[in-house]
Symmetry: C2
DNA sequence: GCTTCGTCTGAGAGCGCTCTCGGGTCTATC
DNA sequence: GATAGACCCGAGAGCGCTCTCAGACGAAGC
């Protein structure tokens, strides 16, 4: 039996051509005659040849793989398992890679050991890295060391990024609440270190100012517990609240629990709009009206960008954030 | 500037030893004198040398990486982004790999093109593959082609696996419901193709028989929607239902919505126990009492097993499934 | 008929590492 | 003092591929 895997050498021999020619046709490189091409293809098929990606990577100096990296910003171990955002990025990147015979690698990097991690990833010389989650300074450092990256969150202007219209999204959410007749609209924000949270904070400020409302908000941590606690605080502070904008669905799920726990009804007494349209939005009860972040599309676009070579400095792609009406706002 | 990365050759030269010796100390191989070891370490530190993993893989015929693979069993594109189970596996594997300088690769394989995917992964010659989700037949095929795998779901007896006590878990859940005075306990099961779902079905059957109750159940799909619909059906069929065991939290979140939508109160009118203790359990309202599946621990154990070489055929590790009391059962 | 150009092909030199194997040195044993 | 054994070390042969470069060949131009 031919247990041993055939090499390109075997293919070349079987096709009666040189290794170089075999390599050329296998890689669709120009400068091969139809005859050679046909013979090599036949040999490949006959032997069941598959290129050894490792050897390929060593010789060419580049690996057909994309790194997806997330920064563990002081989050608890295992956060990855409960973060609905991260897995959506994976879900977006995966299909585009599958189509082109590229691999997906996962990395989580600690802020403390970031330098080393960046170095490791940079030396790998893959097609590039998708920064799932990062702080601006880290993204910049990463970019300086290795240009083939694209951030999924707002960063310094040079770093290529896929950006959602967070600010407009929040404004749309608050406008919707206002349109529904709500006048005591408060917000629960995400952690200040998170660039998305910052944008959403800005959006809320603009929205309430524009509507002539007072700005009332509490800070959460983008986790359910934080959302619950923030909502309770807000409700204690002002029992007349009639609407909440919550900066992500996970916190919104907690807020919903807090609101019903105080005997209020959703959406009648208090309406809630979340952000992300993650799995948390549909698991909440009632299901959350939320601003849909097209994370999968953004991630797919990021992967495609990387596949096309080094992104241009400051490359930006913007994505709309759309309102999804469910049961936490009146119909 | 030393822009060009130093190779082991450079290290050897700087240390005044041969490449072989440098390699030996870098890999902690036996048979090096203290003097050589010290000199090589010094050279490594001075030059900032980091081994090229690709070259290493080519020469040794093995890549320091673990594959995590999930089977797209007719699930919609993007399911990965909403599956709380899969990301917990990632969360479990990641930290153990981080500690030993190994990488994590992600794969999703289609049932139709499984053969090709298995071949690809097998040829990669990584440390092994963690089958996050699979059907028994596919796991067996995979195992035959490549022994370095471990399944996270029940499979044929030869395939190394990390197994949760699904059956005992379900029995414990139903017993708890019974202990709470519930007598009309129904179940919502997962899809028949899923091996975990099958075990949980078995567990429920045993539990109700043992308690002398009638077995009533509906089938769901492990998704929220399916849980919602199944619960409605069940409630229509028998309005006197006082407890539901739901085979995963995602469906349980849907069931909770269905129950409250019919005006019933949880946990007083109907108590609910889910399964998994995933993010869906805490996002549901009220939060779900559920059976905690130690997915992260199981995944970490799987990764460690692979790190130690080829698992013994039929290797099995069992994990307990514990009750987590929250608000969908009375206190 | 000879040069020139363009197209195709093969030889061979790496890519950076691992690992075997043979030789050299040093201690223990008689 | 000779011999065996243990312990280190270095030379060198790969691992399977890519890619440059020069040569071969044929057509076109003078």
């Amino acid at each position: 039996m031919d247990k041993v895997k055939p090499t390109i050498e075997d293919v070349a021999r079987a096709a009666g051509v040189s290794r170089a020619s075999a390599s050329r046709v296998i890689n669709d490189a120009p400068g091969t005659s139809d005859l050679v091409r046909a013979r090599v293809h036949a040999a490949v098929a006959e032997l069941g040849y598959r290129p050894n990606e490792v050897a390929r990577a060593l010789a060419s100096g580049r690996q057909r793989a994309v790194d997806v990296v997330a920064v563990t910003c002081g989050r608890p171990t295992g956060w990855l398992g409960t973060d609905p955002y991260f897995s959506r990025i994976l879900a977006g990147v995966m299909p585009v890679l599958d189509g082109v015979n590229a691999q997906l690698r996962l990395h989580t990097i600690d802020r403390e050991r970031a330098a080393e991690a960046i170095e490791t990833i940079a030396r790998n010389a893959t097609l590039g890295a998708v920064l799932a989650d990062t702080t601006p300074d880290l993204a910049t450092r990463f970019y300086r060391r290795c240009r083939r990256i694209v951030s999924m969150v707002p960063t310094a202007a040079v770093v290529p990024a896929m950006l959602a219209d967070n600010i407009d999204g929040v404004i749309a959410a608050v406008d919707e609440l206002h349109r529904l007749g709500r006048r005591r609209i408060v917000a629960i924000h995400g952690p200040a270190v998170n660039p998305c949270a910052t944008d959403r904070r800005t959006g809320f400020r603009r929205a309430v100012r524009h509507l002539g409302l007072v700005e009332v908000s509490a800070d959460g941590d983008f986790q359910r517990d934080g959302g619950y606690r923030a909502a309770r605080r807000l409700l204690d502070q002002d029992p007349e609240i009639d609407a909440m904008f919550v900066a992500n669905d996970l916190m919104a799920a907690g807020a919903v629990q807090a609101i019903t726990a105080t005997g209020r009804r959703i959406p009648d007494d208090v309406s809630v709009i979340g952000f992300d349209d993650s799995i948390a939005a549909v698991c909440a009860n009632p299901q959350l009206t939320t601003m849909r972040l097209p994370v999968e599309d953004m991630a797919a676009a990021a992967a495609r960008l990387l596949l096309n070579g080094t992104p241009a400095p400051g490359h930006r792609q913007r994505f709309p954030v759309d309102l999804v009406r469910r049961d936490s706002t009146p119909h």
